[in-house]
Every structure is written in structure tokens, then in C-alpha cells.
């Protein structure tokens, strides 16, 4: 017991960069748990900066960002199992895992945000079919179950339960179709959600096309995050990525981003908002940041022949797409909204930040553990 010297112990657990990052993530997760308990015990008034004029803050904004990013799961399941583009299969598992952890984080954040977390299941008992949020709640719950089923094979392989595994393989296409359907519904309904706020949301964003725009942008975010998940899972295991696969995903993300840009510009034109876009007032600048820097530039970086072949261009493009979608969800939820007159400005409470960062850190930690101990990155034999 006491034969190990301190020096030996340190050598057993070398303080590598990975260990440092993991410790930091664990620490942030713990801080988040502590802050989350505080919120549940003390209530929203004591632990958030929310008010009747700003009833939703960064929790909801990050929820909507996370749902778009976690679109990686349905995008890749659709690409491989529905469109049967099997060349992308090596990136499927990192994407599905990211999807599951993303949606788990969303559910945790939502529970923190509810006034009555103890009644979170009420939407199953009481239906309001006209409510976008009812549909989103149902789809998010059902889709999280789909993601659990889609990740089950990773665990079944590890456990060696072959009978269940063959069953899971048979069911994979119907499950993927169910997942794509549920995702198409709630990714677009997140846009429909804002149609009930014509008096609050700026005209540069408020549009009957919101459902379509939200759906398309979830695909470009999903493809981008898949590339990052694929890259990170390779790095963690010290393995090589397939350059052709990344190039294919990057081109796909570029095209979807171009389609999104054209849809958004067309929508602005049809609603006579081009003048407002060119006015460069506060709202217009927010949209330029989101659409120009977050969609036009990455589409060019990922599609122009002289740029697309360069690695820096690709990863910058991917980063900018994710930035653009993040800005879009934040603008729609917070920055482009006009609260009722007399509302004090909203500046998030430390508990809101701690819980958000904690839940994200926890998800990252779980992601790392899964990549390490389950077969998330492709098997060596097929590489």
C-alpha cells in the first residue's frame, strides 16, 4: 500500500494536456451541478436575470443552438441510411453520439428553465396541437429515444450481446427514417415558434419562411459539427481521418449553406427588407454578422475551387457556419427581440452561465469517455 512513492504516483498519472482538459471539464461539470441544485432549490428569481420582459435567456438560446448542432445525428443518419451514401459511414457514429449528448444537454437545460421542473411530463398528459412548443417537446423526447436506439449498438458491441446486435442492425433503417421525420418536424417547428411573436421579433427575422430556414440551417450546422466530431474522435484515439470523407462533407456543408443564403436573401427580398438589410443599423449589423460572416463567407470558403482544397479554408468555413447558426438562434431568441417598454436589460446571472457551461462540459466529458471506451471511430480492420 505504502510502497508507492509520490513520485511513482505522479508518473502513473502523467499530467498531460488531455488530463488537464479532462480535469477542467470535470471541475466545470461539478460547478454546474452545484449551480443547478441551487437553481432548483432557490427558484428562478434568485438564480437568473430573467424577468417578465425577458422570460427566456441563455438557457433557451443555447437549447436552440444545441438542437441545431445536434442535427448532426439526423443529418448523418439520413445521409447513410436513407440516401445510402455509405462512403460517409465512418463519420456516422461520432455524429450520432454527438446528437445523443446534445439532446441530453437540451433536456437538462429545459428542466432547469421550467417554472415547474417537477411537472416536466405534463405535455404528455395535456396536448395542445396548435402549440409549436408542444410539438417540439414531443419530438425532442421521441427523437432522444431514437438516438438512444441508434447509439445502443455501440454499447451492445462492447458488451458482446450479439443477438440484440443483429436485431439492432435490422431495425437501423426504419429507426433512421423515424429519426429523420421527427427531426424534420421539430427543427422546422423551432422556426414556427417565433411566428407567435410578430410584435417582438424584428422584421429582418420574422418571416413565414422561418420553419424552412430553421430546417435548412440545422442541416448545415449538423454537417459542420459532424466534421468536427469526426476529427476530434480521430485525434483522441491518435488515428487518421479519411481526407476524401472530410472533403465530401465540407462540399455538402458548403452547398447547403449556399442554399440557405439564397433562401434567406430571397425571403428578405420578397418581404421588401433589402433596404433594411442595407441600413446598417443595429439590427442590420446583427444580420450581416449572422448571414454575411456566418453563411456567405463559409459558402465561399467551402465551394470556391482555389480555396476549398486548403485545410485552413475548410476548418475556418466549418467554424464560421457554426458561428452563423449560433448567432441566428441567439438573434431570434434574444438580440432581435423588442421586449415590452420598461423592461430592464437582461444580463445573464452567474448561475445561468455556470449551469450552461457545466452541462456542456459534462456532455464533452461523456463524449470523450464514449469515444475512448466504445467503438465510435471506425474499427481498425476497415481502416
Amino acid at each position: 500500500m505504502t510502497t508507492l512513492t509520490t513520485r511513482q504516483r505522479i508518473e502513473d498519472f502523467p499530467l498531460t494536456r488531455t488530463a488537464l482538459i479532462l480535469s477542467l471539464l470535470a471541475l466545470l461539470t461539478l460547478a454546474g451541478v452545484w449551480a443547478g441544485l441551487g437553481r432548483l432549490l432557490l427558484g428562478l428569481g434568485a438564480t437568473t436575470a430573467l424577468s417578465d420582459g425577458y422570460p427566456w435567456g441563455i438557457w433557451i438560446a443555447f437549447d436552440f443552438v444545441l438542437i441545431a448542432f445536434a442535427g448532426a445525428g439526423f443529418t448523418m443518419a439520413g445521409l447513410t441510411h436513407v440516401l445510402r451514401q455509405h462512403q460517409f459511414e465512418p463519420a456516422l457514429r461520432p455524429a450520432i453520439l454527438t446528437g445523443l449528448l446534445g439532446y441530453t444537454a437540451v433536456l437538462l437545460l429545459l428542466v432547469l428553465d421550467l417554472g415547474r421542473p417537477d411537472r416536466f411530463y405534463n405535455f404528455i398528459l395535456y396536448w395542445n396541437l396548435h402549440s409549436p412548443l408542444f410539438e417540439i417537446s414531443c419530438c425532442v423526447l421521441l427523437y432522444t429515444i431514437v438516438l438512444v436506439l441508434e447509439t445502443a449498438p455501440f454499447l451492445l458491441e462492447r458488451l458482446g450481446w450479439t443477438r440484440w446486435l443483429s436485431l439492432a442492425h435490422k431495425a437501423i433503417t426504419p429507426i433512421a427514417i423515424l429519426g429523420v421525420t421527427l427531426s424534420s418536424l421539430h427543427q422546422s417547428t423551432l422556426g414556427t415558434l417565433y411566428l407567435n411573436m410578430p410584435h417582438r421579433l424584428d422584421a429582418l427575422w420574422y418571416s413565414p419562411a422561418l420553419p424552412l430556414l430553421f430546417f435548412v440551417s440545422s442541416i448545415m450546422a449538423g454537417l459542420s459539427l459532424t466534421m468536427l466530431a469526426y476529427l476530434f474522435s480521430a485525434r483522441i484515439l491518435g488515428r487518421q481521418v479519411q481526407p476524401g470523407l472530410l472533403a465530401g462533407l465540407a462540399t455538402g456543408a458548403g452547398w447547403v449553406t449556399l442554399v440557405y443564403t439564397l433562401l434567406k436573401l430571397g425571403d428578405l427580398g420578397l418581404r421588401g427588407q433589402w433596404a433594411a438589410l442595407g441600413s446598417f443599423d443595429a439590427m442590420s449589423r446583427l444580420l450581416w454578422l449572422e448571414l454575411g460572416l456566418g453563411a456567405v463567407v463559409p459558402a465561399a470558403l467551402l465551394l470556391l475551387p482555389m480555396l476549398r482544397i486548403r485545410s485552413w479554408s475548410r476548418w475556418l468555413g466549418v467554424g464560421l457556419i457554426l458561428f452563423g447558426v449560433l448567432m441566428n438562434r441567439f438573434n431570434a431568441t434574444m438580440f432581435a427581440q423588442t421586449p415590452p417598454p420598461g423592461t430592464p436589460p437582461y444580463s445573464p446571472h452567474p448561475v445561468e452561465w455556470l449551469t450552461t457551461v457545466g452541462i456542456l462540459a459534462g456532455a464533452a466529458l461523456a463524449w470523450y469517455v464514449a469515444v475512448r471506451w466504445l467503438v465510435i471511430f471506425e474499427r481498425k480492420s476497415s481502416a
Partner: protein, 295 residues
């Protein structure tokens, strides 16, 4: 002052009897009666006409509301809506000098956005007029606060198990044949309770017969599809901070999209299934063809 008291009880009893008669006539009578009652709200549901020119800012309505609803701080007059105040009196300094008082409370929209938005259907428009809130269903998601164009629903921020709070149009009092507490308390005849169609007719007649006293508009007649709370004013409503809204009900667009949900689901699922089947088959055939051609 006689027009201040429409014969509400007799009319109400008449309607009740009519409903009962219809129900008794046939088996489908109840359904027909309900359908009629469902049609009724727009025109002849309960409403309040708030004549701001008669309001002296005496605050009787605000205190009566607190007492009637057993709200905390019964002697503190609210100047803004919050979870302890279902109605409040806002004071606005006017361009031509002096102050204007605005009584605020839930507008009880004819097509309430809050009810359409509510995740669990805790908010509903009753055929009698009130937009009622069932706190036992509410999960505290606060989407109603975003959907309401009047900034009415408030949240109990200080309650660890917080819920939404708002004016219920004294639904229980209406059921007992009483006026809402605020309307009963007003000593100046500024709050007139009655049927919406009758009140609107009176409001327009008042505008016509008192030339120059009122702006030529009844706020709430058309705003956001119409509301059960109607306002008369001497100064433009925008100056008093009333939101300027079109005649289209707020929830119209979202509702139209939401009604397409089953169709969207079937289309996506059908298309995805067909694609998956077709592409799988094509790949299988290609593989077979390759095998046949190789030797």
C-alpha cells in the same frame, strides 16, 4: 347614467334558458347548443368597455381586484402588472399637458395568442369571454409571455415552483351573475360591463354623439382580431402606450403551419422510406451486376 347598467342578468337568464331548451329538443341538441355557444364569443360574450375619459385615477379598481383575488399586499396600488397584480393603473404624461390614466389587465382576446402558444393548453378562451388559466396544467415554460402582444401574463419569479399569473376576468364572479370586481368598484362609470356587441354599439354611439370628446376609434374592436376589453380615449392610443396591432389574430400564422404537421410528417416519412428502398435496391442490383460481369 342609465346606459351604464345593461340588463345583464335578464339577458343572461334568457340565454341560459334558450340553451337548455335547445339541449332538450334533440339528442344532438347539446352539441348544437355547444356549437352555438362556440359561435357566440365573438359577438355576445362578456366584455368591459373602459372609458378612459371618465377615469380619475382613484385606484378603486386596483384595490378591489387585489381584495377579490386575495392577492398579497392588498393596500399597495400596483403601477405595473406583476404576479401580485392582475390589474394596474399606469400614469402617462400627455403631450398637451396633464396626465392620462390607463387601467391595464388581460385584454381577453377573441383569438388569444397565449392559448394557442401554451404547450399544455393551460390557457383557454371560454365561450363566455374570459381567457382562463388552469394552473394545475402549467409547466412554467413562459411561452405565453412571448405570444401575448400586450405583455400581460406574468411569472412568479420569487416562487421556487413558479407559475403564470394573470387576470381571469373574475370568472367565478361572472358564474354567480356578478360583475368583475374592478367594474363593480369603479365609482365613475369608467368600467362598463356587458355583452361585447352591445358595448361596441354603445361605444360608437358615444363617439358620434360627443363630438370631439373621443378619438374616433374603439381600441380592442379589431386589434389582434379583437379583444373583450374595449377602450375609449380622448388622446390617441399610441400616446398612451397601447401597442399598435393589425386586425390579424397573432396565432394565425403559427396555427396555419402547425396544421400541416401530420402532412409534413407523412410526406417526410413516405419520401424517406421510398428513397431508402429504391436506393438500396439499386445498390443491390449494381452489386449483382458487378459480380456477373467480373468473371
Amino acid at each position: 347614467m342609465s346606459d351604464l347598467h345593461p340588463q345583464k342578468i335578464s339577458r343572461r337568464d334568457f340565454l341560459k334558458q334558450a340553451g337548455a331548451g335547445a339541449a332538450a329538443l334533440t339528442g344532438a341538441g347539446t352539441l348544437a347548443g355547444q356549437a352555438k355557444a362556440g359561435k357566440a364569443p365573438a359577438e355576445s360574450s362578456w366584455a368591459v368597455l373602459i372609458d378612459l375619459t371618465r377615469c380619475t385615477g382613484c385606484e378603486s379598481c386596483v384595490l378591489a381586484c387585489k381584495a377579490s383575488n386575495n392577492l398579497p399586499h392588498p393596500d399597495v396600488v400596483a403601477t405595473s402588472l406583476d404576479s401580485d397584480a392582475f390589474t394596474c393603473l399606469e400614469t402617462r404624461s400627455l403631450a398637451e399637458g396633464g396626465v392620462g390614466y390607463v387601467k391595464r389587465q388581460c385584454m381577453h382576446c377573441l383569438t388569444p395568442a397565449c392559448a394557442s402558444a401554451c404547450t399544455v393548453g393551460a390557457l383557454t378562451k371560454s365561450p363566455e369571454g374570459p381567457v382562463v388559466y388552469d394552473s394545475s396544467k402549467c409547466i412554467g415554460c413562459r411561452y405565453c409571455q412571448y405570444a401575448c402582444p400586450f405583455g400581460v401574463p406574468t411569472f412568479e419569479w420569487e416562487n421556487p415552483l413558479g407559475l403564470i399569473r394573470k387576470c381571469q376576468f373574475c370568472q367565478a364572479r361572472l358564474g354567480q351573475g356578478q360583475k368583475p370586481a374592478c367594474a363593480e368598484a369603479c365609482p365613475n362609470g369608467a368600467l362598463r360591463f356587458g355583452r361585447r356587441d352591445a358595448l361596441l354599439a354603445q361605444a360608437h354611439a358615444q363617439i358620434e354623439s360627443n363630438a370631439g370628446r373621443y378619438v374616433r376609434r374603439v381600441y380592442g374592436e379589431h386589434e389582434a382580431g379583437g379583444t373583450s376589453m374595449l377602450y375609449l380615449s380622448a388622446v390617441p392610443f399610441a400616446e398612451l402606450g397601447f401597442p399598435q396591432l393589425g386586425p390579424e389574430p397573432i396565432p394565425h400564422q403559427a396555427k396555419t403551419v402547425m396544421q400541416q404537421t401530420p402532412l409534413t410528417a407523412l410526406t417526410v416519412a413516405g419520401l424517406a422510406s421510398a428513397l431508402a428502398w429504391f436506393l438500396q435496391r439499386r445498390q443491390k442490383l449494381a452489386a449483382v451486376a458487378m459480380k456477373e460481369n467480373t468473371p
